[in-house]
Assembly symmetry: C2
Homo-oligomer: 139 residues x 2
């Protein structure tokens, strides 16, 4: 497919209630993508997709992101084996964010630090001095 795969967003009513997938890319050509584990719904990671990653994800059934740090397409799991097979893609009301439910390959993990998911720390305000600190653990 060489033509741009997605139509330009229409009116607000069309974006919110219509049947056309018309992603609203930001100034950098990206939408946010939340990946959740299809087994139990746990949020695994948040990343970004451009039009090409969205197209590849839909056509191949595996998650392709746009790496903002490396400035390149990123086939999740291509080196780690932690491929994300997309069971379902959803889009939000204003079509600037998608959510994918995935089955994770390899060791079932997601985060490059070795954890299953990227949200491995809680944020807490210290009562004495108001600093925001992190603790590892929890769901």
């Amino acid at each position: 497919m060489t033509a741009p795969p997605f139509s330009v967003p229409g009116s607000r009513a069309e974006v919110e209630e219509g049947t056309a997938f018309t992603p609203r890319f930001d100034a950098n050509g990206l939408v946010s993508c939340i990946a959740v584990d299809a087994r139990d719904g746990q949020v695994l990671m948040l990343a970004h997709m451009n039009a090409e990653s969205l197209r590849r994800t839909l056509e191949t059934g595996e998650a392709w992101y746009w790496s903002r740090s490396r400035g390149e397409l990123w086939h999740k799991g291509a080196t780690s084996g932690q491929v994300q097979r997309v069971v379902e893609m959803r889009v939000d009301c204003d079509q600037d964010a998608v959510l994918i439910r995935v089955e994770v390959g390899g060791d079932g993990g997601c985060c490059h630090t070795g954890r299953r998911a990227c949200f491995y720390r809680t944020v807490t305000l210290e009562p004495d001095d108001g600093r925001a600190t992190l603790r590892t653990g929890g769901a």
Copy 2:
């Protein structure tokens, strides 16, 4: 509090494994925020927070976002009653996204379209012509 509430991110090791919350704001001064329902883990919405929204969210225990469309701080539920009481805030490995587990006030909904959650449509490729279309329903 008048001083900037969050320290500047340190090394990659400090960001990923340290105990300081040092959000990595994008060029617009924002991090992404995923809100999930504390009752069952359902993803309700994706929005954005700047430093002031993060500070208010942590200090008040209710979700404050930055509305990109309106260009202003947004106390979720201030008009609708759908206040999000924050049970827990988590941050991801590179500290450019947070996840909040919330108890929703009012009628328990979240989306301005009247649905409980914003991700009310699935994206499907039509087998005949490859168009990406939307269907309402599902979890």
